[in-house]
Amino acid sequence: MTRFLITRILSAVPVLLVVSLVTFLLIWLVPGDISAELGGTDATPEELEAIRRRLGLDRPLWERALAWYGDLFRGDLGYSYLLQRPVLDAVLERLPVTLSLAGLALVLATVMGLMLGILAAVRHNTLADQGAMVTALIGLSIPDFWFGIVLIILFGVWLGWLPTGGFVALTDDPLGWARSMTLPAMTLALTQMGVIARMTRSSMLDVLGQDYVRTARAKGMPRGTVVFRHALRNAMVPIVTVVGVLTGILLSGAVVIETVFSLPGVGRLIVGAIQRRDFPIIQGGLLVTACVFVFVNIIVDMLYGWFDPRVRDGR
């Protein structure tokens, strides 16, 4: 297991190198004089010159790339002139909101998706099966940010049960936090549970057709025990893969949903930075989110090894 883990962590190194290279090149794609954008409208020529020198815009690209990597290794993601603070501080301050939203949505989507998928597999080729799969397909086809707006109109504006947006910190008021997170998390979970439901169904159908399942049933084991103890555990490997993919979708979904619900996460930070054309923040937000995703993928692969010993033994 240790060896598997080390190989897996080492394989993340080239990925992170490419991620940071793409992030670095982002600023190079911007047409026109970037120092004017970064300094804002009221920057003096001297200030612009200082920005240009600090960013090294007078130096060739490869030198700037080396400087960028040097800064990264020292944990310096750059400086936002518009926010007047280091990028890393601004991003890390917002990260908990994004992570709790994506995490909450992941738990909800996994639980609902598993239930829906197991139901569909156990009641294969019945109305329940078809209903579950249609629900899953519709969820997959709905744009999540729009669904968020619909839920706001429904539960916020018409029924008035939940706030239409805004954020309450967990430490200030746990109930208020739950109320402010319910709609955003449900938005993401309801649109994404279909992926898990579909994978659970097909993986369970595979396993339920196996001989050992028939044997378990034949020796008189209760149906629930067979489904959950024998079948589900063996059906988990493909499901875990999908959960890993889903985490990425949920992270990026959280970024967009934060804008819809006015939640102060990394997404709102990035979108605000796009409007102000504050590129260091866009770069930093992108880089940190990608790193979180790479880290999550390592955890998913470990789970993979835990569910399927063949993976960790490298067979």
Binding site: L16, N125, S141, W146, T247, V255, T259
Partner: protein, 303 residues
Amino acid sequence: MAAEAAPAPLSLAAEIARARRRRRAAFLRRLFGHPSFLIGFVILAAFAATALLADRIAPYAPTKIDYRAILAPPSAAHWFGTDGFGRDILSRILHGTRVSLTIGLWVVAMVGVFGTLLGTLASYVRWLDGLIMRGLDGLMAFPGVLLAIALAAALGPSETNAIIALTVTFTPRTARIVRASVLVVQGMQYIEAAHAVGAGHGRIVFRYILANALSPLIVQLTFVFAVSIIAEAILSFLGVGPPPPAPSLGNIIADGRSYIQEAWWIAVFPGIVIAVAVLGLNLMGDGLRDVLDPRQRVERGGH
């Protein structure tokens, strides 16, 4: 086998052509006999028709401002209501579908080309494999459409830049799928046979390998089409897609977000249109996968 009397080459060619036609007809029958594909196809055709005929069937010009009908609810004059400038939502949606469709088709074409190119290069040219795959892994490490959002933000809001941003975002997964299926085909005996009879690399790649590795690519591109319609809407919603006042489904929803208290119809209707179009494409993709990739039929076969 060669000992059998060889028919005259001309009639053999005719026989092959006839067999091909028969196979194609059987394939189309199976495809359109698949309920998911058929429903999806009808939806997509309707979507394409509205996009093409937007000028003719839209009751108003999409940017026509009418101060006497600001935030008018759905009515006989304005089926889907009007927005804060009194612009007709139905007309804006009809024209918006054109943007979605154009961007979707371009992204599918570009992802198809670059995905095939990178996937084939990676599997065919040994020493490029590691390099290409690590690059693609890196691009796929950006979650969801986040990379597209950042790219579109850097390049500036325009239709072309949205296409570029989405292409870069969706190519890696497609290239991996092409690579995987090319690797399978490469190991087949008929490829070895083609090498043995001295077929050139170009002929082998195009006539034999790609032709036989096409199915997963086609299925994948249908899903790319679906996600790029949603992704375009996200870009427009965040203000980095095709710029207003020209309508796109995403920027109509963005307009509507400011009016959720008093005018629900602005945001709600364009989203329904997106959902229906994407549902159609997903159904088509599911149908194509069932028909093109027989292994998946296990899933429907039961236990």
